[in-house]
Amino acid sequence: MYRIRFHGRGGQGMKTASRILGTALFLEGFEVQDAPRYGAERRGAPMFAYVRAHHKPINERGIISRPALVVVSDDSLLAMAAAGVTNGLTAATLLAVCTTRPSSFYDHHDDLKGQLILFRPPASVNGHSQLSSCCAGAAAALLGIISPANLAAAVARELDALPPERIRVNQQAAATVFRRLTENGAFVREGADQVRVKRPHWLTLALDSAALAAPAIHAAATTLRMDTGLWRSQRPEIDFDTCTCCGLCNIYCPDGAISLGDNGCPAIDYQHCKGCLICLNQCPTGAISARPEAAAHETDEVEA
């Protein structure tokens, strides 16, 4: 059985990538299972989707804990433990990461198990990224069991709501990375038919009284401990030479990540700012600009 996991952020199209790959495998004659897994549908939040393919009916269910192939659409997820990209990786796993960084950047990631394969995101066309087709193409190439024709057909089938021109651009994006990675020749090894599961050790839990068992939270504002700032791909920054401290950004920020200090001027709480950039769009003086988080992060590290 082939077990593949796609990791990305909500909105990047990894659910679609898993569907394209699933359909391509189906067209190749496999039995297929594909399913996304999120906390809830949240843009920017880490999510993953998985695909199983087998020559026989698939009786295995649930999350894939021992993937043969992991495809990652967003390289910032590698450093985020909560995203779970490296869960269950072994030396035999292929880890394919879509990245614009040079391969030398990954040299010090020697804690990563598995064979690392890097590929570049496709150039965006009219503001559309083709990331799902590209990641599905990468997976198809590394599996080595999908023909270019079936990959193209699967893209067309899964994106059939899009205008024909965009389907064509997506097929090209899938084909380009497919050709590039096929040259690589690092093919995924098929996993065992069945994963051996250890017999669980059952515990008998006595029923608690409702007062104990109901999930009551007695402290206030505990969500402050959640680092939703990790969802951010663009970082808003305020230029205080231009800011007039009008306070509008504080009113419009959905997350309450902007507060006004004693002087009435705004400050952004980067631990919680999700990077929606509403503040940038609404600032009447244009005092807010955005930088890709990855670049901003590197500057932080240099300064630190």
Partner: protein, 307 residues
């Protein structure tokens, strides 16, 4: 359920709702709820029907400093009744000092408010329950991936109306005012001045009170999260989202858009959203676009006629 309010000293308040919740980046619903909550202040007891906002509080995390209770989709208003009654009994028995009384706010999406939850809400109004119903209208079942709700507008694509909603938006505001409640208003977080006036007004009134908030939803309406406020403002400016207030049995429009021909066309608003893309590509659907425009124009003609 959270306990009675307690302000931890370490919490940088300034916002009643703490950051760190799991709503999507750019969530228009959260932005509107945040503003309403800031004006209501901390002594609020939210009774929240299943939907996107029930994920605000995932054990052991809560953004609230007041109290919050989770109910099924159909029973938030009934839950509100229970909480109000419990508070009243505690007040009468002097088990709760009057200064610790709380404002009961039922919080739900449009799916719950105008669908499954309507019966319980209607009953609460019949009994003249002292509560606020805050409905964030994202025009569909947001939490489960955007299926059609009774509040989905005509022509919008959802996962269960893939070629555009053939039906029309159910008017929750009219259903409420038909009950002759103490207060009802439509609001939008993108119009904070109008919102503030209404919430301040409703604070001084007792009885059933509705706040119906247009809540642009980047995830389901398919637009860039940065455009949430832009879309809210445009919905008001083009006349699609009338800002109105019902008080002492009278209906007033609190912000009348410019005259027909001088206000933005609805097309400007529709074009920004993927859920209407099929109206423009591969072929333009003039019939549906002009039907939406004509309905808006007729609405405002009637408003001006009635003066």
């Amino acid at each position: 359920m959270s306990s009675a309010p307690q302000k931890p000293s370490s919490q940088p308040l300034g916002h009643q709702l703490a950051a760190g919740t799991s709503t999507c980046a750019g969530c228009g619903a959260l932005q509107g709820i945040r503003l309403v909550h800031d004006i209501l202040d901390s002594k609020v007891f939210f009774v929240n029907a299943a939907g996107c906002m029930t994920l605000l509080s995932i054990y052991p995390f809560t953004p609230f400093a007041g109290a919050w209770l989770y109910t099924s989709m159909a029973s938030a208003a009934a839950g509100g009744q229970g909480v109000r009654d419990a508070l009243d009994i505690m007040l009468a028995g002097k088990r709760l000092p009057p200064q610790e009384d709380m404002q009961v706010v039922v919080l739900s999406g449009d799916g719950s408010a105008g669908g499954m939850g309507l019966s319980a809400t209607s009953g609460a109004m019949d009994r003249n329950l002292d509560f606020i119903y805050l409905c964030y209208d994202n025009e569909g079942y947001g939490n489960t991936g955007y299926q059609l709700s009774a509040a989905t507008p005509h022509g919008a694509r959802t996962t269960t109306s893939t070629s555009g909603n053939p039906g029309y938006k159910k008017e929750l505001f009219d259903i409420w005012t038909a009950h002759k409640p103490a207060y009802a208003a439509t609001i939008c977080g993108a119009e904070p001045g109008d919102l503030r006036k209404k919430v301040e007004t409703l604070k001084g009134i007792k009885g059933p009170r509705l706040l119906l908030a247009l809540s642009p939803c980047p995830t389901a309406w398919h637009f860039e999260p940065a455009d949430t406020i832009t879309l809210g403002k445009l919905a008001v400016a083009c006349g699609l989202w009338p800002l109105k207030e019902y008080k002492e049995g009278r209906l007033v429009h609190t912000k009348v858009p410019k005259k027909t021909g001088r206000r933005p066309q609805v097309e400007e608003y529709l074009r920004l959203q993927g859920r209407y893309r099929h109206l423009f590509a591969p072929r333009r659907n003039d019939r549906v676009i002009s039907e939406i425009q004509n309905r808006v124009d007729r609405y405002w003609e009637k408003v001006t006629d009635e003066g």
